[in-house]
Amino acid sequence: MPRIFELVVNGVRHSVDAEPARTLLTVLRDELDLTGTKYGCGEGQCGACTVMIDGIATRSCQTGAAAAAGKRITTIEGLEQHGKLHPVQAAFLEADAMQCGYCTAGMIVAGAALLEKNANPSEAEIAEAMQGNMCRCGTYPRIVAAIMAASRMMKRNAA
């Protein structure tokens, strides 16, 4: 693998010079200064590092940076468009679906990816899709409520 490769993050092309073995998580955080994506466990168990790659929720701590070259990467910083929050971000605010907030970015990205696949998930489907995202403060009920609310919001926006 080349040492210099190109990443497309939140619609912006970045030329990255990094060891090929680097994870996408550390390249996003330490090379591109996109620190909204968090380290929580390094083994794909907690979901704090969740980003979207071509629209699919992906654990960036388990993804080689070079392997993500050329794909469409979306991080928490890319969800807000022209000063307008993504419906999932707005719904998290509305439901106060956080305490310490460290898991929030991963939760929001995972929730946004879920709604791209399934615009109208049930509570059970949300719990199943989000099972790999951990909130140690225990705000799960609020997160489920926020994603349900975002789903309704998106339907209203589309109508």
Partner: protein
């Protein structure tokens, strides 16, 4: 530098040290730099100085009698300075509300500077649910005094540019001011949303691991292969050959700093170290080991409470019971691991770190580097949780040591495995209860011994004429310390499960049995509120389903929970529903309080059902989330929270106590479903990899 000092982390709640010196407060000098506006300083009454302010005060930037201070600038901006910190318990919002209430200013005009040892007054730490009962009144006092210096009328109509132009008007306040009663609150008592939530949902808030400084290096620390291991030899030649790598070997400390995290990990990987360690115990013998009590340093048992005669009470009892309960070691596992960014400027050190005790970490740094405390500045960004697990400054010291050697700033973020291994744990414990109840269902005798897990919440509120209650410190195998609710969880588990055993022995329905033995009206009120919402006594359980109830009191607040659990042979119990009532005086922020209660219930499920630290011979055997199970989305039952707002009572803290009734309510529901009495936390029996059976009664 050995991070495993067994004396480092006792129950911090019981740490009470008064200030050694009281210096005169030279206010002009300190506040001159602000340019203009009004400063109000809230002083602590001398008797309370050791709680919120106080401490030793040597070399502090600010005198220690100050609890907090606020500054209104000539543009009408309000900046509040407090040593309390934000770890998800929502202090930033509730303290903002306190200032807004008394000042009459909008929440958006107020900014809090928290936990910066150079700019905020000394504070012992953010723990023990003390922010609401102590810092809220201090800030209200300061804000109310500031309001008195401003012209009457609405905030928007005040011309701040005319007030104390070009000079700082300083006013000090001690006790005496009369804050607004809760029934007149307009901002306090309302559900103000989390003030910095937008920074969080957009990913902009910078936690410690997100801090980046120019020329910053990334650090890693070489950990011993076992606890208490001594370094015999180190060959760092391969690591030192890697360009840009600094290796530090100072006594037992070995670490590396490099230009990228990847290079630091590579350098760490090629260090060749030899360790020597003594054989150590395992989880297998834990509960036996903990029952060998030791004398404390002053030769006495830490706490004992005796009333009447247990033997006399037992002699007159119709039913006598004797039960033993166990509680495993569990980990806080905050999602943000310990982290620090350290920067030296000559002899001056600045460290950003996530800690519940920034001033404690400042002292640790001063001691470790032999510098005066004023040369060590600790800044605490709002942090990815603590739950009592971030009282210490290991990462700060390690990052500072590496930065000193490298001559550049160093960031150190503990790996999850380090956090699971080299932090400290909630203490394991054994609790023995002996009791007797008379023919009418009155408890006549209550003897309660807690080995090692702690004394928080150890006393019973039930009205029992003969009692003996004692905490026995033990020689313990793992580094242990504070945890949300601390030992109150273990003590409530044993007490409330045993209350159910007594109710069964006496042939009385569990809620009625509790009420019959209670005089405390606030306790009765939470029990009845939870029972009412749950439909206790009104619904018939379906096949395999049981209902359980538990109540308690700790740190000024009352809590009760009802649980509905489905049990099926050969499968772990499934928690269907938890209703919890909570009363902590006048409610400061109803929605955020509900959030804390819900979170406590969910976190409590882990310790109740499946969390346990597995260890053997100086090693943690499950130091990863793939081996240490914590509550996830699918574990969450239907949760209902009933808040009792007592506007006639002072507000108590609420981040901890709601956790204490979760485990006993579930254990009692399992008994009602199956007739099996479980006396071990976690309740789900699990064979550990080393053959120990955590969750099994001894």
């Amino acid at each position: 530098m050995n991070p495993r000092n067994p004396h480092l982390e006792p129950e911090r709640y019981e740490l009470r040290e008064g200030p050694a010196y009281h210096f005169r407060f030279d206010r002009r000098g300190f506040f001159k730099a602000l340019g203009g506006g009004i400063v109000v300083v809230s002083f602590i009454a001398r008797a309370k100085a050791q709680e919120s302010g106080g401490g030793r005060g040597r070399g502090r930037a600010m005198p220690q009698e100050i609890a907090a201070w606020l500054h209104i600038d000539p543009n009408g901006g309000v900046t509040v300075y407090t040593g309390k910190v934000e770890v998800g318990q929502n202090a930033r919002t509730s303290l903002t509300q306190a200032v807004a209430e008394e000042l009459g200013a909008p929440v958006s005009a107020i900014e809090l500077v928290m936990g910066d040892t150079e700019r905020t007054p000394y504070d012992m730490g953010t723990f023990g649910s003390m922010t609401t009962p102590q810092m809220v009144p201090q800030l209200r006092k300061a804000a109310s005094a500031a309001r008195a210096l401003l012209p009457a009328g609405p905030w928007e109509s005040i011309d701040f540019s005319e007030i104390a132009k070009n000079e700082v008007l300083v006013k000090g306040v001690t006790g005496g001011s009369k804050p607004k009663p809760a029934d007149q609150w307009k901002v306090l008592g309302t559900s103000v949303p989390k003030v910095n939530a937008r920074e969080i949902v957009t990913g902009k808030h910078q936690y410690t691991p997100d801090v980046k400084l120019p020329d910053m290096l990334h650090g890693r620390v070489l950990r011993p292969e076992k606890f208490e291991a001594k370094l015999v030899s180190l060959d760092s030649s391969a690591a030192e050959k890697i360009p840009g790598v600094t290796v530090v070997h100072d006594g037992e400390f070995v670490g590396v700093a490099a230009t990228t995290p990847h290079a630091a990990a590579t350098a760490l990987g090629v260090l060749k170290a030899q360790w020597k360690a003594q054989p150590q115990t395992s989880a297998k013998t834990l509960f036996h080991d903990l029952q060998q009590p030791i004398a404390t340093e002053n030769g006495e048992r830490r706490s004992a409470n005796e009333k009447g005669s247990v033997e006399t009470g037992l002699a007159g009892a119709a039913h006598k019971l004797d039960s033993t309960f166990t509680v495993a070691y569990i980990a806080h596992a905050p999602l943000e691991p310990r982290a620090a960014v350290a920067q030296w400027n000559g002899e001056k050190l600045t460290v950003w770190t996530g800690t519940q005790r920034p001033f404690g970490v400042q002292s640790e740094l001063a001691q470790a580097f032999h510098i005066p405390e004023q040369n060590a500045r600790v800044l605490m960004p709002d942090t990815g949780s603590g739950y009592g697990g971030k009282h210490t400054g290991e990462a700060a010291i390690e990052a500072a040591r590496l930065a000193k050697a490298a001559g550049k700033p160093v960031k150190l973020v503990w790996t999850r495995e380090e956090e699971f291994t080299w932090a400290y744990f909630r203490p394991a414990g054994v609790i023995q209860v002996r009791s007797g109840v008379d023919a009418s269902g009155r408890i006549m005798a209550w003897e309660f011994h807690n080995y090692n897990s702690g004394a928080s919440g150890i006393n019973t509120l039930y009205d029992i004429p003969n009692q003996k209650i004692a905490f026995h410190p033990s020689k313990y195998p793992l580094r242990q310390g504070s945890y949300r609710g601390l030992a109150a969880t273990a003590n409530h588990f044993a007490r409330e499960v045993h209350m159910d055993e007594l109710a069964t022995a006496a042939g009385i329905e569990p809620l009625q049995f509790r009420l019959r033995n209670l005089k405390d009206e606030r306790f009765k009120a939470v029990l009845l509120a939870a029972a009412d919402r749950f439909g206790w006594g009104k619904r018939k359980a379906a096949a395999g389903v049981g209902f359980g109830i538990a109540g308690g009191f700790e740190k000024g607040s009352y809590v009760a929970a009802c649980a509905e659990v489905h049990c099926e042979s050969g499968k772990p119990p499934r928690i269907l529903r938890i209703v919890e009532s909570f009363e902590c005086g006048a409610i400061v922020n109803p929605d955020q309080l509900k959030n804390q209660v819900e979170g406590s219930i969910v976190q409590g499920l882990g310790g109740a059902l499946f969390e346990a630290v597995d260890f053997e011979d100086g090693k943690i055997l499950n130091p990863r989330f793939s081996r240490y199970r914590v509550p996830r989305f699918s574990d969450v039952p239907h949760i209902e929270v009933v808040l009792l707002d007592r506007k006639d009572l002072p507000s108590a803290g609420a981040g901890e106590t709601p956790i204490v009734t979760v485990a006993p309510a579930i254990a009692n529901a399992i008994f009602s479903a199956t007739g099996e009495r479980h006396r071990a936390m976690p309740l789900i029996r699990r064979q550990q990899s080393n053959g120990a059976s955590i969750g099994a009664a001894i």
